[in-house]
């Protein structure tokens, strides 16, 4: 049986190892997109009506059964489709990931000494999909068919709205329920489709062990991302990351709320080992707080720099690969400079967990004039653990106060049980601070 995966191509995400020193605080781990299952990543490069979209997702399964139907806002031709470089998306993911930084309290007896330590994140294993031969197309409504990289691309005639559905049915693709309705609606809005299937022969010739992202360049006044097909065959909510690369400023959705996640928050030390769980639960909690109807901002920054850096900014060459067409070609080719500075590129990372119930309409975007930098940054402050050469009772009391404050904040951000959190915190001086929520009489005769 064949399966139809909608919206984006399949891809197993592999993480890059990054170790980067930062100006203040050190980067130790990142909540990259591999934390979330069924995650799709889309890069949207946009200036005026010109758009370049790059699509990747974490499809795992038999590629021979794999086809992706991609709605695009306009008619497209062969030269407008390209196969991208997965490493660049991974780099963009790493660069824009929410980050955990750590500080170490100085010796309380020597107030102004500060000790800092650097850590790097761990490697994550790569998953490789096994590839087999794909089926041949035999549809009647195909307008053009050609091979781009490892993909067979089929551009379908849109003269009859049932053409696409009929072709897919004729070719034994399993269509999710309600697909015809959505396809008809898109056609009514002037949108067009193409189908991409993996050409296994080409793929083995090219030697790739995974599916590379597909790219499409088009010109359209619609600054949007069609998500409705993606909600049809999904089991539960789907995770989507949108990286918008624009010339002026931050990108936001115009038909859903775009909300900043809590940031610059101090968290207890143990979160270092549970950063993935922390971030996932905090994201779920914040989504719930917005009734499941918000798009979240995870990063907004001028591409020329970062602080602290989860990864180096993308080079001009990498940005050209993603389709940032306003960067000078000469800059992109210039390999002499060690860290090429990309000019006039503002990156916005949006993260949304969506389903049909909470996101009935496609995501519509606009570019704003907001150039304020924003990043998801979580801070660990390690108390001084060395030998004390003076009376540190006061210092310990202030650390306990801080630890308790961090515990309460963590509980409210993630919905974790405050009691469990407190158990994991090594309170300074070994003294558990008084629990404010505990009934007052419990402490009378202790």
């Amino acid at each position: 049986m064949k399966y139809l995966i909608t919206l984006v191509t399949a891809l197993a995400t592999v993480m890059v190892t990054t170790t980067a020193q930062a100006f203040c605080g050190f980067y130790v781990a990142k909540a990259d997109t591999s934390l979330f299952n069924r995650a799709s990543q889309v890069v949207l490069v946009r200036d005026d009506d010109r758009t370049v979209i790059t699509m990747a997702n974490d499809f795992e399964g038999e590629v021979e059964d794999f086809a992706v139907v991609i709605p695009v806002p306009t008619r497209i031709e062969r030269e407008q489709i390209n196969v991208g470089d997965r490493a660049v998306i991974q780099h963009l993911d790493a660069y824009t990931s929410p980050r955990l930084v750590e500080y170490h309290d100085g010796n309380p007896c020597h107030r102004y000494e500060l000790e800092e330590r650097m850590k790097s994140d761990a490697d994550l294993p790569a998953a490789a999909a096994q590839l087999r031969r794909s089926a041949k197309s035999q549809g009647v409504t195909i307008e053009a068919s050609y091979t781009v990289g490892e993909y067979d691309i089929l551009i379908l005639s849109a003269k009859e709205s049932s053409g696409l559905i009929r072709w897919l049915n004729d070719n034994d693709y399993k269509l999710p329920r309600g697909a015809k309705r959505v396809v008809d609606s898109y056609l009514g809005q002037g949108m067009r489709f193409f189908v991409a299937k993996v050409n296994v022969e080409e793929q083995s010739k090219l030697g790739y062990q995974y599916l590379r992202p597909l790219q499409v360049a088009y010109e359209s006044n619609k600054f949007m991302l069609p998500i409705r097909l993606g909600t049809l065959n999904a089991k539960g909510k789907q995770e989507l990351y949108v990286y918008a690369l624009t010339r002026t400023g931050r990108v936001e959705t115009t038909n859903y709320r775009t909300v900043k996640l809590p940031t610059n928050v101090e968290v207890p030390e143990f979160v270092e080992g549970e950063f993935a769980d922390f971030y996932r639960d905090m994201f779920a909690r914040q989504t719930e707080k917005e009734n499941g109807r918000a798009v979240f901002l995870e990063y907004a920054w001028d591409m020329a720099w970062c602080d602290p850096c989860a990864a180096d900014p993308l080079s001009s060459k990498e940005l050209r690969k993603l389709g940032v067409f306003w960067i000078d070609e000469r800059d992109a080719r210039d390999k002499r400079s060690i860290v090429p500075q990309a000019q006039n590129v503002f990156v916005t990372r949006l993260h949304v967990s969506y389903d049909a119930e909470h996101f009935p309409e496609d995501l519509m975007f606009q570019e704003t004039g907001d150039r304020q930098n924003y990043q998801g940054r979580y801070v660990i402050r390690h108390p001084w653990k060395g030998e004390a050469s003076c009376d540190i009772t006061q210092y310990e009391a202030s650390v306990r106060e801080r630890q308790e404050r961090e515990a309460q904040l963590l509980a409210s951000m993630t919905g974790w049980d405050i009691g469990d959190i407190r158990k994991k915190i090594p309170f300074a001086g070994g003294i558990q601070p008084a629990n404010e929520n505990e009934p007052w009489w419990k402490r009378i005769w202790n």
Partner: protein, 276 residues
């Protein structure tokens, strides 16, 4: 007696409602409104209002309308640059004194400022999605807004606009075969309701005759829909209002009605001779 006649002025209610919305926006919805911008808009608007009053030789300085415009601008205009906020307030209040036809200003002040800045600068924008679509919130806005309108006795503009816009959205959904949750979601937009209740309803810039106002509201709804769903551009209603505003003097010339005065909301009641 002075205090009673003051309470009859619907603008006091309007100030209260807009201030409440501003409070909700800042405290509950995290709008990211900079207080510097708010202060800049408030002070500039009053200064220009005062200057305009003196230069136009008006009998007395009235800070209330400029205050309402300031609140609308603070709610809708987003910018990182306080200078643009100052420019917005100058354009808004200045347009009231400079762009006049037959004793009425042509454009809604906040509207003309928003559109001018959006067109001339890429550092100013309107965040129409930031109100979210929480049904209860939208309902609350609608009720509060309606209170203002009933005092202003010009509810038909708002009602006609909302009905016209909703009809177009539902018509589009039916034509495309979309689920009705889509037009419902499109209507549950706080920014749309603020536009309908506080911007298009401005009695100073709508036609004098009731029939004219209904026709005008339906026209704005159609143009807004066209911008938003045929040209796929954001801020359809705000752009539509500016495009349609020059037609108001034409409608006034064709259909007779009463020129609205804030201080006498009952100006067209039986206490006054007909046709004035």
């Amino acid at each position: 007696m002075v205090s009673i006649s003051r309470l009859r002025d619907p603008r006091y209610y309007q100030v209260a409602v807009l201030a409440t919305l501003l409070g909700i926006g800042v405290l509950a919805l995290d709008f990211g409104i900079h207080w510097q911008n708010a202060v800049a808009i408030l002070l500039t608007a009053q200064a220009v209002q005062y200057l305009g009053t003196r230069l136009a030789g008006l009998p007395r300085f009235d800070p209330l309308s400029a205050l309402i415009t300031s609140l609308s601008l603070t709610l809708l205009l987003r910018t990182e640059l306080p200078l643009l906020a100052v420019a917005a307030a100058m354009i808004a209040i200045g347009s009231k004194f400079l762009l006049r036809v037959r004793g009425k200003h042509v454009f809604n002040p906040a509207n003309v400022a928003l559109v001018t800045l959006m067109l001339l600068s890429d550092r100013a924008w309107v965040s129409s999605g930031q109100w979210g679509s929480a049904a209860i919130g939208a309902f609350g806005l609608a009720c509060l807004g309606f209170l203002v309108l009933t005092r202003a006795k010009r509810a038909e503009t708002t009602i006609a606009f909302l009905i016209g816009y909703a009809a177009l959205l539902f018509g589009r959904a039916l034509w495309l075969g979309d689920p009705l949750s889509i037009p419902v979601h499109q209507l549950q937009n706080g920014a749309l309701l603020i536009f309908a209740f506080f911007m298009i309803s401005d009695p100073k810039t709508t036609p004098n005759a009731a029939r004219g106002r209904v026709a005008y509201a339906l026209l704005v709804a159609t143009v807004a829909f066209t911008i938003q769903f045929i040209f796929y551009q954001p801020n359809g209603p705000i752009l539509a209002l500016i495009l349609c505003a020059p037609l108001v003097p034409v409608i006034d010339a064709l259909l007779q009605g009463t020129h609205y005065r804030w201080e006498k909301p009952d100006a067209h009641s039986s206490a006054h001779p007909k046709g004035v």
